[in-house]
C-alpha cells in the first residue's frame, strides 16, 4: 500500500471517497513508525513518544464523524506534533531530561485546534532541547537521522518532525521556528515548511524558548498541504496576548493566483561568501523558474542582515534565561536526589536537568541582562532588531517577496559541528532575520546536491502567508523536487 506517499490533500480526498478509513490510515503510519523509527534498532529516532492508543481512538472517532457527515476536511488524517506542544495526559518533554517525567495537565492551543479539526496525533517528535539547536543533536533523547542520508543531521530544532515527514512516518507535522527551526530542517529534509507572521498562531501551551521570536507552523510535503494545516492552526487566541486578532484568509483560495508581475527581491547579502556554490546554483535555477512564471527580479539591500545572528544570540538567550527559570525542581520536572538545602536543590536540579547548549544559552542570557551589561547587550540588540525590521520595510517597497537560500549548505554529518557552537549558529544566518522582524518565511524543495536536498527560502511582508503559499504552490506545479522521496523509505 502507498498510503504514506499521499499528501494531506490526497488523503482528505481518499477519506471522503472512503478509499480507506482513518483507522487503516493511522495503523499504516503507526506500523511505519514501528518499522523505521526505533533508535534501538538503528532507526531514525524521530519520535520521542508514540501515542498509538490516543491515535486509534481519534481515528475511530474520525471515522464515526465521517459516517455521520460531521467530519471536517482533514478529519481522520494523521500527523505528528513536535514535543514542544503541551499535550494533555501525554508526556511532553521539549527534548529535555528536565521534563522527562512531565505529563502535561493541559493542551496547547495548537493541539486543541488540531484535535478539533479531527486530525489524528501519531505522537510527539524529537527536537533539540528546548528548541535550542540546528541539528537536533542537543536532544536528551538522542540525535535524529536524516532519511536522505542516515549519517547526517536532519536540521533543527524541529528535526524529528522533519525526519518523520521526509521518511513518510507521518504525512505532515507541526514545528516551531525561533530562528529557523522549521525552515532549516525543512530544507535539509526536502520539505515545505512555513513560519507564519509572529502572532498568527497561538503560543499557548507551546513551551517557550524566546517568547518574542517563537512561532509555530506546518511542515508538509507541499505548499497546498501547508495551506491546509495553517488553516487549522492559525487564528486569534485570547489566552495569548501576543496572538493578533487579524482575519484568517482561506489559504487555499489564492494558491493558483498568477505570478505575472510578481516582484521578486534578491538580497545581495544572501548570496555572499558563506553560501555553498552548488547550493547557490540551485537557488538561482529556482529563481529562473519563478521568473518563467511571470515574476521580475530586483536586487534589494538588507544592509543590517549581518547583524542578525549576533542580535539574535543576545535576545533569544536573554528571553530563554528567564523563560527557563520555572524549571527549578520545585513543582514539576527533574529534581536532584537528596538536596541539602534550597540552593543545592536549584543548582543540582538545573545542572542535571539541562544539557550543555541550554546551560550555555541561559548563561549568555543571564549575562546579557545583568546590571551594567543590559544597555550594551540587550538594548543594543533591540536597536539592531529595529534596524533589521526597517531594512525589510524598505526592501518590501521594491518587491513582493524575497527569495534566497534557506541554509548555507546541505545536511552535514552527525557530530560535525557539535564542538563548534558558532558554526552551528551560522546555520540560521538566512532565517534569523525574519524572526527578528516577525515576518513570515517559508522553505520549499529546490533540488539536490550530491543527493542531499536544498531549500529555497521565501520571505514576505507581515500577513503575506497567502502570497508565499501562492508562489510556492505555482513553483511546485512546474517542479517535482518536493515529490522526491528518500529511496530507503519509499
Amino acid at each position: 500500500m502507498t498510503l504514506h506517499t499521499l499528501t494531506l490533500a490526497d488523503l482528505a480526498l481518499g477519506l471522503e471517497r472512503r478509499d480507506f478509513s482513518s483507522v487503516e490510515l493511522t495503523q499504516h503510519f503507526l506500523d511505519r513508525i514501528a518499522r523505521y523509527d526505533s533508535a534501538a534498532n538503528g532507526g531514525l529516532n524521530s519520535f520521542i513518544t508514540v501515542t498509538p492508543e490516543r491515535a486509534l481512538a481519534q481515528a475511530v472517532a474520525a471515522d464515526a464523524a465521517r459516517s455521520n457527515g460531521t467530519a471536517g476536511l482533514l478529519s481522520g488524517i494523521p500527523l505528528a506534533q513536535k514535543d514542544i506542544f503541551c499535550t494533555q495526559g501525554v508526556k511532553t518533554t521539549c527534548g529535555s531530561k528536565m521534563l522527562d517525567s512531565f505529563i502535561s495537565p493541559y493542551n496547547a492551543e495548537v493541539i486543541s485546534r488540531c484535535d478539533a479539526a479531527g486530525l489524528v496525533m501519531l505522537g510527539k517528535t524529537n527536537m533539540d532541547e528546548f528548541a535550542m539547536g540546528s541539528s537536533n543533536e542537543t536532544s536528551y533523547y538522542g540525535s535524529v537521522k536524516n532519511p536522505w542520508d542516515v549519517t547526517r543531521v536532519p536540521g533543527g530544532s524541529s528535526g524529528g518532525s522533519a525526519a518523520a515527514v521526509a521518511a513518510r512516518l507521518a504525512p505532515a507535522a507541526s514545528g516551531t521556528d525561533t530562528g529557523g527551526s522549521i525552515r532549516q530542517p525543512a530544507a535539509l529534509c526536502n520539505l515545505t515548511g512555513l513560519k507564519p507572521s509572529y502572532g498568527r498562531i497561538s503560543r499557548w501551551g507551546m513551551i517557550a524558548f524566546a517568547s518574542s521570536l517563537d512561532q509555530a507552523g506546518p511542515m508538509t510535503q507541499t505548499a497546498e498541504d501547508a495551506a491546509l494545516l495553517l488553516q487549522v492552526m492559525a487564528g486569534h487566541d485570547a489566552k495569548d496576548s501576543t496572538s493578533i486578532d487579524h482575519p484568517v484568509p482561506d489559504y487555499r483560495a489564492s494558491l493558483n493566483d498568477s505570478l505575472q508581475g510578481l516582484r521578486v527581491g534578491l538580497p545581495k547579502q544572501f548570496f555572499g561568501d558563506g553560501l555553498n556554490a552548488d547550493t547557490a546554483a540551485l537557488i538561482h535555477a529556482a529563481i529562473k523558474e519563478i521568473e518563467k512564471l511571470g515574476a521580475t527580479v530586483v536586487e534589494v539591500d538588507l544592509p543590517n542582515s549581518g547583524l542578525s545572528v549576533p542580535a539574535y544570540y543576545v535576545i533569544a538567550p536573554a528571553e530563554c534565561s528567564s523563560n527557563l527559570s520555572r524549571f527549578d525542581g520545585v513543582r514539576f520536572g527533574h529534581r536532584c536526589e537528596n538536596p541539602k538545602d534550597l540552593e543545592d536543590l536549584y543548582k543540582r536540579s538545573r545542572a542535571e536537568g539541562f544539557g550543555a547548549e541550554v546551560r550555555r544559552r541561559i548563561m549568555i542570557g543571564t549575562y546579557a541582562l545583568s546590571a551594567g551589561y543590559y544597555d550594551a547587550y540587550y538594548l543594543q540588540a533591540q536597536r539592531v532588531r529595529r534596524l533589521i525590521k526597517q531594512d525589510f520595510d524598505i526592501a518590501f517597497q521594491h518587491c513582493d517577496v524575497i527569495l534566497g537560500p534557506t541554509a548555507p549548505e546541505t545536511a552535514f554529518a552527525l557530530g560535525a559541528k557539535q564542538e563548534d557552537p558558532i558554526a552551528m549558529y551560522l546555520q540560521d544566518i538566512y532565517t534569523i532575520a525574519t524572526n527578528l522582524a516577525g515576518l513570515p518565511g517559508m522553505s520549499i524543495p529546490a533540488g539536490f546536491v550530491s543527493g542531499l536536498p536544498v531549500g529555497l527560502q521565501l520571505i514576505g511582508p507581515y500577513w503575506s502567508e497567502s502570497k508565499l503559499l501562492n508562489v510556492a504552490h505555482r513553483y511546485q506545479q512546474v517542479t517535482d523536487w518536493h515529490r522526491q522521496l528518500p529511496t530507503a523509505f519509499a
Binding site: G205, S241, S322, L324, Y378
Partner: protein
C-alpha cells in the same frame, strides 16, 4: 546637633479584583492551600499571562486619586529571581514605564498642620505565593493561592521626617484606597504591607545610607519598627560605625530590627520588558470615563466639610479619615435635620461615638448605634426635649440596645426635660429648705464666692430632678429664689 530622620515608604496594596492579575483564578483570601492556583499561577510550561483590565482600572483610579500623571503607555517587565513561592522564577512587575507617575498625598500632623508627601510612582505587579515553614517536619510547604494576586506598589518620596509622619502617610494611603474601593486595606490579612526605608543625617547634609524594613503589617508596628531602627542607626553612627545599605526585618517580640541581607548579597533582578505582554495603552476616553467614576476623595470632602458645613479643620480631618466614618457622619447629619445639625453631628460622631466604639473595640461599620438613631437623639437635644447630659445617657442606652430609638428610650425611661417653671420652683424650694446653712452662707458671700456656691445649688436641683430640669430655667429661677 540632633539627627534628622528621613523616611520613604513602599506600600504594597492588594487590589480587590475578582480574579488574579494574569489568570482567571479567584483572589478570595483564606481558601485551602493551592485550591486557587491555575496552570498560569503554577507557572506550568507553556502558559501565558493575560492582563486583567480591572486591575489596570484600579491602578488608574489610584493615580487620579493622588493627582498623578497616568502612564499612557506602560510596560510590564520581568523581575528575575529564584524563590520556591515564585513559580515562574520571575515576578511580572513594572520598571521603566509604570502605570502611575509622580503624584502626592496630604497628611495631617499631630499639631493639625497639613503636609504634602510626594509619591514617586505606583506600579502594577503580581504577588508571590507563601512559603509555610511550620508543620512540615523540617520541610517547607508552598501555597500558591496568593500567587498572581494583583498588587499596586506605591513608592513615596523620602519626605517623612518622623515615625509618626510615616504612620500618618500610611493611614492616608489606607484611607484613599478604601475611598477608591480598590482594596479592602486589611492589614492583618496582608492586603496592605509596608516597606520602610529609613536613614538619618545631620540637618543640611546629604541623605544618609538607608536600610529597608521589609513587610511591616500594622500602623503600630510601622511606628515601633522605625523608632527601633532610628535608635539603632543613631547608636551606630555615634559609636563611629557606618551604616551598610541592607534589608532588615522587624522583630516584634524583641522590638528590634535585624539585617536579612546587605546590598552586596542583593539579587540582580535582570529586569527586561516581558515579551509575553503588550504595552498597556490608556486612551483619553478611558481616562475620562474612570475620572468620572471616582467618588469624592478625602481632600475634597474635607474642604467641603469646612466651607459648606462650617466644621473646624480638626473635626473635618477626623471625619474624613475613612470613607465609612465620613459616610456615617453625613448620614447622621441628615437624620438630625441636615446642614444646620452639622456641628452637633460632628461633635457626637467624633466625640461620644468614636470613644464608645474605641472602648468596645468596634469599627465604625459595626457600630451598634446607627446614624439614624444618633440623628434622632441629636434632634431631641436640639428641640430641648432632653438636655445634653441626658443625651449622653440616652446614647449609652442606644449603645446597650435598650431601645430602638432615642424617642423610645426617653419615653420608657421618663427622661423628658422638665420645662414647667412651677415644678422646677417646687424642687428649688425643697433644695433651699434642706440646705439652710449653705443658703445662709451664699447670701453672706461676695460675688466670686457666690458663683462658686451657685454651682452646688444647680447640682442639687438637677440631682433632685433626676437631670430632667431644663438647665437654663434652673439657672434663672435659682438666682432669684436664693436671694429672696
Amino acid at each position: 546637633m540632633t539627627w534628622e530622620i528621613v523616611i520613604g515608604l513602599e506600600v504594597h496594596v492588594q487590589l480587590n479584583t475578582q480574579s488574579k492579575i494574569f489568570s482567571g483564578s479567584s483572589t478570595t483570601f483564606g481558601s485551602e492551600p493551592n485550591t486557587q492556583a491555575s496552570l498560569i499561577d503554577l507557572g506550568m510550561p507553556g502558559v501565558l499571562p493575560v492582563l486583567n483590565a480591572e486591575a489596570v482600572r484600579h491602578a488608574v483610579r489610584f493615580g487620579l486619586g493622588i493627582e498623578a500623571e497616568i502612564g499612557r503607555h506602560s510596560v510590564f517587565a520581568r523581575k528575575n529571581y529564584f524563590y520556591p513561592d515564585l513559580p515562574k522564577g520571575y515576578q511580572i512587575s513594572q520598571m521603566d514605564h509604570p502605570i502611575v507617575g509622580k503624584g502626592h498625598i496630604d497628611i495631617t500632623l499631630d499639631d493639625g498642620t497639613v503636609k504634602r508627601v510626594g509619591i514617586t510612582r505606583a506600579h502594577l505587579e503580581e504577588d508571590a505565593g507563601k512559603s509555610l515553614h511550620e508543620n512540615f517536619s523540617g520541610m517547607t510547604g508552598i501555597d500558591l493561592n496568593r500567587a498572581g494576586t494583583p498588587l499596586l506598589e506605591i513608592v513615596s518620596e523620602p519626605d517623612m521626617r518622623s515615625a509618626k509622619e510615616a504612620v500618618a502617610y500610611a493611614k492616608a494611603i489606607h484611607a484613599l484606597i478604601r475611598y477608591l474601593d480598590i482594596s479592602d486595606g486589611n492589614m492583618a490579612e496582608g492586603s496592605m504591607r509596608c516597606d520602610c526605608n529609613v536613614s538619618i543625617r545631620k540637618p543640611g547634609q546629604p541623605f544618609g545610607t538607608r536600610r529597608e524594613i521589609k513587610n511591616v503589617n500594622s500602623f503600630k508596628f510601622i511606628e515601633k519598627a522605625i523608632q527601633a531602627e532610628v535608635l539603632w542607626q543613631m547608636d551606630e553612627l555615634e559609636s563611629g560605625r557606618s551604616i551598610v545599605q541592607s534589608t532588615v526585618l522587624y522583630d516584634v517580640a524583641k522590638n528590634e530590627t535585624r539585617a536579612m541581607r546587605s546590598k552586596e548579597e542583593a539579587n540582580d533582578y535582570r529586569y527586561f520588558p516581558d515579551p509575553d505582554l503588550l504595552p498597556v495603552i490608556i486612551d483619553d476616553a478611558t481616562l475620562t470615563e474612570i475620572r468620572a467614576s471616582l467618588p469624592e476623595l478625602p481632600t475634597a470632602k474635607r474642604a467641603r466639610f469646612e466651607s459648606e458645613l462650617g466644621l473646624s479643620a480638626y473635626d473635618a480631618g477626623v471625619l474624613v479619615a475613612s470613607r465609612d466614618l465620613s459616610a456615617y457622619f453625613e448620614a447622621t447629619m441628615m437624620a438630625a435635620g441636615g446642614v444646620s445639625a452639622a456641628k452637633a453631628a460632628a461633635n457626637w460622631v467624633s466625640g461620644e461615638l468614636l470613644a464608645a466604639l474605641n472602648r468596645a473595640e468596634l469599627e465604625i461599620v459595626d457600630s451598634p448605634v446607627s446614624p439614624e438613631q444618633l440623628g434622632g437623639l441629636i434632634l431631641r437635644i436640639t428641640d430641648n426635649t432632653i438636655s445634653g447630659k441626658i443625651g449622653k445617657h440616652v446614647f449609652a442606652a442606644l449603645m446597650a440596645k435598650e431601645g430602638a430609638s432615642a424617642d423610645e428610650i426617653i419615653a420608657t425611661q421618663g427622661l423628658k426635660q422638665e420645662t414647667d417653671t412651677g415644678a422646677i420652683e417646687a424642687v428649688i424650694r425643697e433644695v433651699i429648705a434642706s440646705n439652710a446653712a449653705q443658703v445662709e452662707q451664699y447670701r453672706a458671700s461676695d460675688e466670686t464666692k457666690q458663683a462658686k456656691l451657685f454651682g452646688f445649688f444647680v447640682g442639687q436641683v438637677m440631682k433632685a430632678s433626676r437631670g430632667k430640669a431644663n438647665p437654663a430655667a434652673v439657672n434663672d429661677l435659682l438666682k432669684t429664689m436664693l436671694m429672696s
